[in-house]
């Protein structure tokens, strides 16, 4: 066997590692905080800018604190300046988005749940291919369907309407919602369903009485994901609507881009925050589920 341990070397080892450990620890926190500032910086700037007056903005810089909390830009962003035509503000478009998001989330989630249920608990030959078939819809660049969709909405008489957007978002949400529910139901033992069938329960009863009650986690994940995707959408919103039926992101973009005589950056920032608050609140409150949605959707592909 090898020689015994040398006592002299330990004392040094002990001291050296203590010092390097401390140094490394500080370095670690330093880097992490540095990056945290990179991520927080834009939020900070948005909030601070939205509370300043234009002269203040011109005099100071990105990070200077407002001399007093000025909420006028927020009022203007939300409700406008009150001079009638040509005055754009977010309020109606905020509600447009709500009217669009709620039904779309509901339909896509519901269909996804039922589809996921069938694909995992009522297996048949080729069901894996059906899943793949649907999954593909998660990955397509939507540019490939913009043109035919625009025509279809026109033919159906629902182009440039909230209803049209509800249809679009419901349909293209299906691949994602199916993915979430399928992956969740796959890990629920089929014995549960078999026992229920022996007890005489039918297709829908099993779904509503057995699976649905234990689906709370995945429903939350799916709803949060869909809500975030649809609320944040711009491509569909800007392509299939304009003017009064536009959702909030489109309105935000229009407001920011509109070149009136004077650029009001504080109003721009307030508008951006208003457009971003709903999803931010959801994220802060239910971040755990948000992340679960991101990683499960990604990792299980």
């Amino acid at each position: 066997m090898q020689a015994n341990i040398r006592a002299s070397s330990y004392k040094q080892l002990e001291q050296k590692s203590k010092l390097t450990n401390m140094f490394l620890r500080w370095f670690l926190y330093f880097v992490l905080i540095l990056f945290a500032s990179y991520f927080i910086f834009p939020l900070y700037v948005m909030v601070v800018t939205s509370l300043k007056t234009m002269p203040e903005i011109r005099q100071g810089n990105l990070i200077t604190w407002p001399s007093q909390l000025n909420f006028k830009p927020w009022a203007v962003a939300w409700g406008g300046r009150g001079y009638g035509a040509g005055d754009t503000f977010l309020r109606p478009y905020f509600w447009n988005s709500i009217k669009m998001v709620v039904p779309a989330v509901f339909f896509s989630t519901f269909i996804g749940a039922m589809t996921g249920y069938v694909l995992t608990k009522w297996r048949f030959k080729g069901d894996q291919w059906v899943f793949l078939f649907l999954l593909f819809g998660c990955f397509i660049p939507f540019q490939a369907i913009l043109l035919p969709m625009a025509r279809t909405l026109g033919v159906l008489g629902i182009s440039n309407s909230i209803l049209g957007l509800v249809v679009v978002h419901s349909v293209y949400g299906i691949p994602f919602t199916t993915l979430f529910f399928r992956n969740y139901y796959v890990s629920i033992p089929t014995e549960l369903v078999k026992a229920a069938r022996i007890d005489g329960a039918g297709f829908f009863k099993i779904f509503f009485k057995i699976l649905l009650p234990i689906s709370a986690p995945i429903i939350v994940v799916t709803v949060i994901w869909q809500f975030t995707q649809i609320w944040n959408d711009f491509l569909f919103g800007s392509t299939f609507s304009f003017g009064e039926a536009a959702p909030i992101q489109v309105a935000l973009n229009n407001m920011v881009l509109s070149s009136t005589s004077v650029k009001e950056y504080n109003v721009d920032m307030a508008s951006a925050i208003i457009a971003g608050i709903p999803t931010l609140i959801v994220y802060v409150l239910a971040g755990k589920y948000f992340i679960r949605g991101l990683t499960s959707g990604a990792v299980k592909g």
């Binding site: 069938v118 660049p141 490939a144 369907i145 043109l147 293209y172 691949p175 711009f234 973009n253 951006a272």
Partner: protein, 291 residues
């Protein structure tokens, strides 16, 4: 009728999803594919015209700039997001006290829309009142940061904003991956005398191959679809220096009334995505079947 329903209930329930996706995804893509071979201008024409649109596309200076921008953006976006993501994940894996808070901070940009992100960064990168002024106020009198209006540099502003939005996501993936490694492996490495760096470099990171793969696929996918961010940040400008394929497609269809040409560009985007996604899905399904 009722008996038929009973027997085939599962398939009936499947019908809405399958039907809708067949029509609105596969059907529509086929339509776009078809149209890309016609000479449609404002309205679709259905006589086949051959590959004229594709010729026109690849002869278009604007399209070539768009593709070039996409390649630059994708390469930088991918590399920076993954490197940053891994570093943050490794650092956060060190039993940090405020881990929850930091994770929330790194990830919250993903909750925002690209329009909000673009608007915020547009303001930050504002040539006269943004970062430039901040540094000048701090005493760096000759500091310039006008990338946003600089034809050469504008594309990099999109990288900055894009990384800000998505790096946290990559971090979340790697952190989950690192945490899924059983700690007996780290213990064995410690006994074998591996220092912290070696443990990550030689053992843990090589085990993250699937996460690399997944991140790569997802980031490339996000990149090819880039539209919202570009619209909000630069509108494809200055001039057309930051135009991207997604922007090109929308502009040719709805502003230039060149439906056929637009369809061709859409199909190019589709093929680019398919080239990455199909191998990925194939290998994932094989892996799932093997286990």
């Amino acid at each position: 009728m009722l008996k038929f329903l009973e027997k085939n209930l599962p398939k009936v329930v499947l019908a809405p999803a399958v039907g809708l996706i067949s029509w609105f995804v596969y059907g529509f893509i086929l339509w776009t594919f078809y149209i890309s071979f016609t000479n449609s201008k404002i309205l679709p024409k259905y006589e086949l015209w051959g590959v004229g649109q594709y010729v026109k596309l690849w002869a278009s200076r604007k399209w070539l700039i768009a593709v070039d921008n996409l390649l630059i953006f994708t390469a930088l976006f991918l590399i920076i997001c993954i490197v940053l993501g891994i570093i943050l994940a490794i650092f956060l894996d060190q039993k940090i006290r405020a881990e929850g808070v930091l994770r929330t901070i790194y990830l919250y940009p993903m909750a925002l829309s690209f329009i909000v992100t673009g608007t915020a960064w547009k303001w930050i990168l504002n040539p006269s009142l943004g970062i430039q002024k901040m540094f000048i106020d701090w005493g760096f009198e000759n500091f310039t940061f006008d990338w946003l209006v600089n034809r050469e540099m504008a594309i990099y502003t999109i990288v900055i904003a894009g990384v800000w939005q998505s790096a946290g996501f990559v971090m979340a993936l790697f952190l989950a991956g690192l945490r899924s490694v059983e700690d007996e492996i780290v213990k064995a490495a410690k006994i074998d005398g591996a220092g912290l760096f070696t443990v990550y470099w030689k053992i843990l990171i090589p085990m993250m191959r699937p996460v690399f793969f997944t991140s790569f696929v997802i980031l490339v996918h996000i990149s090819i679809k880039s539209y919202d961010l570009v619209v909000a940040l630069t509108q494809g400008g200055p001039g057309i220096s930051t135009t991207m394929p997604a922007l090109y497609m929308t502009q040719t269809a709805f502003h230039k009334s060149q439906v056929g040409l637009s369809a061709a560009s859409a199909m190019m985007m589709f093929m680019a995505v398919a080239a990455v996604i199909i191998p990925y899905l194939y290998s994932e399904l094989r892996r799932e079947n093997a286990s």
